[in-house]
Structures are given as C-alpha cells and as structure tokens.
Symmetry: C2
Subunit: 334 residues, 2 copies
DNA sequence: CCTGGTTTCTACAACGTTGTAACCAACGTT
DNA sequence: AACGTTGGTTACAACGTTGTAGAAACCAGG
C-alpha cells in the first residue's frame, strides 16, 4: 500500500534520483519528464518517508517546545503561538511537559541528542546554568528569564521593569499596604526573583517600607496556590489593600479567596497579575495585568532557532527582549 | 562530537551488532562484554539515532494529538493527560493544532502518511466520515463525538445523557426558562448537536416546551463567544432563569455578560457548563458543570492506538465510552 | 565537423540502525 | 569420538532517501 521513490520511478520510467529531484523541486528537469513523474506520484499517492529523509539529511524538521505545564493557560497560549510561528517556517513542533522540575528540564534539554529534533525552545523554571553545560551543540533557545550567563540564546521580557510598573500602578491608586504573592522558596525561580525585585524597587521609589509579612510564597503557579497564599495572608492578620500576584493564575486564585473572605475587589483590595491570559479578560472582576507580547516572544524564539540552525553554531549567545504592556482592568480600577 | 554504534564498537572491541544488542537489551551477551560495551557507551555519551532506528524498524515512537486549539483549556488539559499516558508506553506526543477547520483536520489526518508518526489521536470538530475514507491504514483514534460510522476507533462520552442530566439539574432547581448556548450553525458540529438533543430531551421530560428563542448559537468555543451569545439573548428580551452552555469557556463568558447586565448568578439566572476546566473551580461564582473523566479519555485513546499498532489493523473499529459526573457548584446552587 | 559548455539524467554510495543467517566454542548426550 | 544444542558473537544486507560524480544528449560558435 505504501510506495517508495523506486515505485514511482518504475512507473514513470525514470531513475529514482530523477523522481527525488522532482519531489525536491530541482530545476533542471525536462517539463515532460516532470509531468510524467508528477502523474506517477499522484497515481500512487506517494509520500516521502521522512525517517529516511531525515537520516540522509541529518535534519528532522521537528523542533521541541518544553514548558512546565500545558494546562497553565500562559503556556498553552505560548505554545499556540510557537506552533504557528514554526509552521510558517515548515517546522513541526513537539511539545514536552517538564513539570517544572530541574531534573526533567535537564532531561528535556539533553533529549535533544536523540536526533529526533533539530532544536529546542525551553521555558525553564528551575534549570541552572551548570545544567546546560553538558549540552553538545544542538541549538537551544531559552524563554523567560536567563539562566545566568548560560551558553544559550534566550528571549526575555524585562521582568524587573514590568513588576515595578505594575506595583507603581497600585501605589498610584493610593494603596500603601501592597502584598506580593508568588515568591518561590527555592532560590532557582528566576522570574519570581526578578518580579520580587521589581516589586521591592517600586515600593522603595514610593518611600514605602518593605514588609516581609506582606510577601507570600506560593508552592506552584496554579489558581489553588494563589488562593492558598491569599488565605494565609489574610489569616496572619496583615490587611493588605492591594496584591501583586506574580502571574495571572495566582491572581485568579487570590480573587477567589478574597471573595470567600467577603472582601471587595478593588474597593477593599486591589489585585494585579502578570501574563494576560484569556481568563483575566473575562473574570469577575476583570484582571489588571502585565501583558507580554506572547506572539512576539514565540516568533523571536523560533527565529533565533532558525538562525542557529542555518548559521554559525559557535556564535555567541544572543538575548532578545520582547515588549510588554501594563493593562489596567477592573481589579484595580472600578 | 556525535557518536555512532560503530564508534562504540571500536572502542569496546566488539562488532557493531553486539553494541546494538546491548543497547536493545538482548539477553545473550556475556556479562563482561556487556560491561565493556556499557562503559564505552558512557564514555562516548552515545545516543541512538532515532531517524535511523525508525527507518530500519518502520516505527517512530511518536504519535500525534490533533486538537482544535491549545489555548482552550479543555484541550490543554486533555493534551496534558495524553502526553502523560503516552509517556508511560514510551511514546512521544507531537501536538497539532487544527484550528477546528475541516480542511486542516483532514490535513492532520492525512499527515499520518508522512511516516513521521505511528498513529494519530484526533479531536475533530468539523470532520465528516467521507473525509476519513481515503486514509491508508495508519491507526487513528477519534475523540469526542463519532464521525458517523467512520472507519476509526473512537472514545466518546455520552453527550446526550450528560446534557440531559445537567439540564434536568436546572429543572430540579425550579427553573423553567432554560436557555442553551453553543449550538453551531454548521451542521457538522457533532458534539454541539448531541448536547442540544440532550437539552431538548430534558425539557421534554419536564413537560417544558422547546423555545427556539432560548437557543443561542455561538461562533466558536471561546469566552468571548459565550459572552456575545449571552448578550444577544438578553438583548432579545427573552429573560431566561437558567443557561446551559455547551462548554465551560462559553459559560464563563456568559457569567461575565450576566455580571455586566447586573444579573445575579444563580439568584436571577443559574448557569451550567460542560468540561470541568480548572477555571470553573475558581471563578466567581464557581461553575456547575459536567466533568468528563479526561484522564480516562486520554488513557483509553492511547490504549486503542496501542492495540491497533500491535494488533490487527483490519479489526472492526471500536467505540469506548468514558464516564462523566455532574458537578454542581455555586453557579446553580448558592 | 569539432570544441566546449550546458542541460538532463543516471549509477552508486552513504546516512545509522537492526534482522537474518551463519559461525565458533563449549557443553552434555549418545 | 561423533553428535546436536545452546550461548555468544559477527558479517552482511536492507530500510528509503539524497549528494556526488559523471555519462549522455543537446546546443552554440568557430
């Protein structure tokens, strides 16, 4: 049922290579030969065997995207854009879920060696620079925060500036007791660390003291974690008048916990998030957030990978920055 | 930098095939030979070339999952479970976004022929039976509703019964003017059609007449579509006291539109959805929904594919059913 | 009619792996 | 001592494709 170049060649009365040439759009093929071959291809419904082609060419046309969890909307939305951007360059995307663990992230990164994929776009949560040291030259692009001076290209947004801007927005509304949710206990959560730094900087700008009791760690990045952190905050008796959550799912969880505690948003407590996921545009109230340009991030990542594949693999790593925008909504401004 | 069986063989002083045997866990290898080979493998950091292995074996170890859109949470959650279930059987999952179009779904299905993937799990929205007619025997499992008597295995949940149950739940709360959101204009949306049928059946059970003005079509399955449909309903002046949305994102959009219209949920209007996505467990109010066992669906789909791959490819298509559970929450019961 | 260049096509080898068949050695059985 | 059996290993071919080198056919200019 399945045909090979050889079958097409026999039917068209030409050599295998000529069929290959037609398939690959080689120029110097006589029109009538080409037509005969194309007819044979159509009649046999021939499809090239990609495994064989890959083996011969050393390329697979598949890139991988490794994210912590697909059912965190930010990553799902990002994945969508990466798939789209990659498709434009003729690539297929293989999506990997790392679970956010250092070990699994490392496995995803070294899985490059399988020859199954030409390159990897990795959004690490816990990976450190030394984890990347033993990679053997397959192109890698990191998303989110830089793994300090790692050997790879990366696409970032300015987490510190963004966090500072959204915190300043809360300050500008007259809030003074501004909590932060999402600090990570393990020191490796780079994004969390930077967002915390931006938060602290904005407080400093406003002459507000940093109060450790207002900074709540979160176990993960899910709604449940945000809700739990918010409940903890309320339970300790510190009464924040605003909360900056380090991502939108945490913020949505916090909204829920505030609702259950009978507090009004934004009247009693203003809430801001980070990521601009679709939920936040329809939640009650809608969610003020930092909106990173996800499409741009995806496109830049794919382009970096393409450059690496076609160009100099030894070139020094590049860092590209994607824009973001503070997007005020009901959760801070009624 | 990249090593082949041959390199390992030379270093260990054995034949290429012996190394291959060690790599594949072949029994009859002398312990000291095995040790020597394994040391050489470790020293060279050898990784098999999957393209070559695939070419030789005719299998790639990769299956594809094609869903309409990754950033619809239901599909993201499903994808997560499929990836997990597949990993247990040693498979990698390649995720495809069809966009829900008939053409693209067909392309995904026929893309099987590329030899890149061993099988496909497809969640179709618009695909018809005849679209599947020209597939050449590569295993395919359909999710969601059956494409009428198509030639493929499929995993379903009983959409009619589930929709009937959730509608009956609304009736039991004393609601009589129950709207439905999510009917599709194009006749191909099989799931929507079945859920509509269940809705109608439940009304009939309760002796409530079917009122066409209460049935709102939706363009897509996003929150924005649900909000738009709800606004349309309200604009026409029919005042429903309950709404059954054909999925959760539509319901979340409807919640938002009701909020904007100043209507209370569930006091004025009760709202129910379908899918049990994470958002619905944290929204305000939390969302009553039908919770399909997504993990089970994913597992069944992967198992069907596995059976097809290892077993009889000509066996008649099978239909497996996954359970669901009505999950009442605040949006119907305060 | 020859020369040199281009176009069109082909034979062959190679990519890295594994299945097949075969070999040799060691063993226990007749 | 001859025999079959098993364990351990190997040489070879094949999977389907494409790059290389070159042959054959064609063309133009002298």
């Amino acid at each position: 049922m399945r045909h090979r170049l050889k079958d097409v060649a026999e039917r068209a009365g030409v050599s295998v290579k000529t069929v290959s040439n037609v398939v690959n759009g080689y120029q110097h093929v006589r029109p009538d030969t080409r037509a005969r071959v194309e007819r044979a291809i159509a009649e046999l419904n021939y499809r090239p065997n990609l495994s064989a082609r890959n083996l011969r060419k050393g390329r697979t046309g598949v890139i991988a995207l490794a994210v912590p969890e697909l059912d965190i909307p930010y990553f799902a939305e990002l994945a969508r854009h990466v798939v789209t951007a990659a498709a434009e360059l003729g690539w297929t995307v293989l999506i990997d879920q790392t679970g956010g663990g250092r070990e699994q992230e490392h496995k995803a990164a070294s899985g490059i060696g399988d020859h199954l994929i030409d390159g990897l776009i990795l959004n690490p949560l816990a990976l450190t620079a030394e984890d990347l040291a033993d990679l053997d030259g397959t192109p890698l692009v990191l998303l989110g925060e830089r793994v300090d001076h790692g050997p790879a290209d990366h696409v970032v947004i300015d987490n510190v500036a963004a966090a500072r801007e959204v915190t300043a927005h809360l300050v500008a509304l007259g809030r003074r007791r501004i909590a932060a949710i999402g600090a990570q206990r393990n020191p490796e959560g780079a994004s969390a660390r930077l967002r915390l730094a931006g938060y602290a900087a904005a407080l400093d700008d406003a002459g507000i003291g940093y109060d450790e009791r207002l900074v709540a760690p979160a176990r993960g990045w899910h709604r449940a974690d945000g809700a739990a952190a918010m409940r903890d905050l309320l339970a300790t008796g510190v009464r924040p008048d605003a909360v900056f959550c380090f991502n939108d799912t945490l913020a949505l969880g916090a909204l829920r916990a505030l609702h259950e505690a009978g507090l009004r948003v934004p009247a009693d407590v203003a809430v801001a998030g980070f990521d601009d996921i679709e939920d936040g545009r329809f939640s009650i109230p809608t969610l003020t957030t930092i909106a990173p340009d996800k499409e741009r991030i995806a496109r830049l990542a794919v382009e970096l990978l393409a450059n690496r594949l076609d160009g100099d693999r030894q070139a020094p790593p590049r860092e590209l920055s994607a824009p973001y925008r503070l997007t005020p909504r009901e959760s801070t401004t009624p």
